[in-house]
Amino acid sequence: MSARSPDQPPGSPRYWVNRALVDLCRAPNARDHIANKSDFFANYSLSAEERQALLAPQWRHLLELGVLPNLVYRYYMLHGLKPESFPTAIKGAA
């Protein structure tokens, strides 16, 4: 898990990165937010490592940070990528 400062809001180590992603995935205009990811995630309490994994995106590293697999896949699909390319993408470098 990535380092957190003590002044961050309470939650489990994986909470905020999952919170950010589920809010995006559930948004009716989720695809629009993909084009402005840094704006969307700006107000979430994320470590630098988490923010970088979301913005890159680093699919496998998101799993390693504790993001629920279902959300990783939904985030992937929101980028307009083909489902058949996911197995290769997720096996890539973390």
Binding site: L63, Y73, P87, I90
Partner: protein, 275 residues
């Protein structure tokens, strides 16, 4: 007293309605034929109310408040929620439910150690609505939806799921009602969504699981470990709904309707009937 008149289990993946071309046509036809058999069985049994048990895919619940088990308590629910954001291939619709039955199960459970979370409004997802679209497209059968956490560890153990199934059977038998009740379990078998295993189907595990399920080996199902299940796929944990069903129908003969590992669907697809 109420009567448990029919049980069935089916995989619930949406490919069967919105990405059929990805599957081998012969296997897809077998899956379709299985659904028709289950639909006929439901019509013939004509239950007054059914429980439909499924995982949920982070559409309603999230890790800020994740129950192990929950029941919908209302007169109707709707879905699939996925249609809010995209064309999903399944029409958004309303499904009648049974408030009184749900309330009975909740109150009895709270008194007997099955502490259901309660849902009073629910746009359910494909785990419920894909099977219902195939089994009951005109929404003629009232359904009480039951959620099991299969998405965010820690998950309820298979042993607990089996015990909840046993409890459900007892609670239904003791319900002061002349209604006939069916139970529909959905999900599984082995598959992964969003993990490094995506695309892998563990056929050996699926066949062992089905052998135990169809032979009524409840002890074997209850003894499965989360480690063993999750090793076969990140979403294989949905077989918890099947294990609840096995507990509810312990001792009753099970008919294996179909099993096909459909590669294009990335899922071991299975269906069973219990009369």
């Amino acid at each position: 007293m109420a009567q448990l008149c029919l049980g069935m289990a089916t995989s619930h993946l949406a490919h069967i309605v919105n990405a059929r071309e990805l599957g081998d046509p012969q296997q897809v036809a077998i899956f379709d034929a299985g659904y028709r058999r289950l639909a006929d069985a439901l019509d013939q049994a004509a239950p007054d109310v059914s429980l439909i048990i499924s995982a949920e895919h982070v559409n309603k619940f999230f890790i800020d408040n994740m129950p192990a088990f929950a029941i919908g308590m209302f007169d109707a629910f709707s879905g699939p929620v996925e249609t809010r954001t995209r064309n999903f291939g399944v029409p958004y619709r309303r499904v009648p439910s049974d408030f009184g039955f749900a309330r009975y199960l909740i109150e009895r459970g709270l008194d007997e150690g099955v502490d259901w979370a309660v849902i009073e409004s629910w746009d359910v997802d494909h785990g419920f609505m894909v099977p219902l679209f195939k089994l009951d497209p005109d929404a003629r059968h009232p359904m009480v939806p039951i959620f099991i956490n299969c998405a965010s560890p820690p998950l309820p153990s298979p042993r607990r799921c089996y015990a909840v199934g046993r409890w459900l059977a007892d609670a239904i038998r003791q319900w002061d009602s002349n209604k006939r009740v069916a139970i529909i379990a959905t999900g599984g078998l082995s598959h992964s969504v969003g993990s490094v295993q995506q695309g892998f189907i563990d056929v050996d595990f699926d066949r062992r699981f089905l052998d135990d399920f169809c032979a009524g080996r409840g002890d074997a199902l209850a003894a499965l470990s989360d480690t063993e299940i999750s090793a076969t796929g990140s979403a294989t944990g949905e077989i918890r709904s099947w294990i609840v069903l096995a507990g509810a129908f312990a001792g009753r003969p099970v008919e294996r309707v179909m099993y096909e590992p459909i590669r294009g669907f990335d899922t071991g697809c299975a269906q069973c009937l219990i009369r």
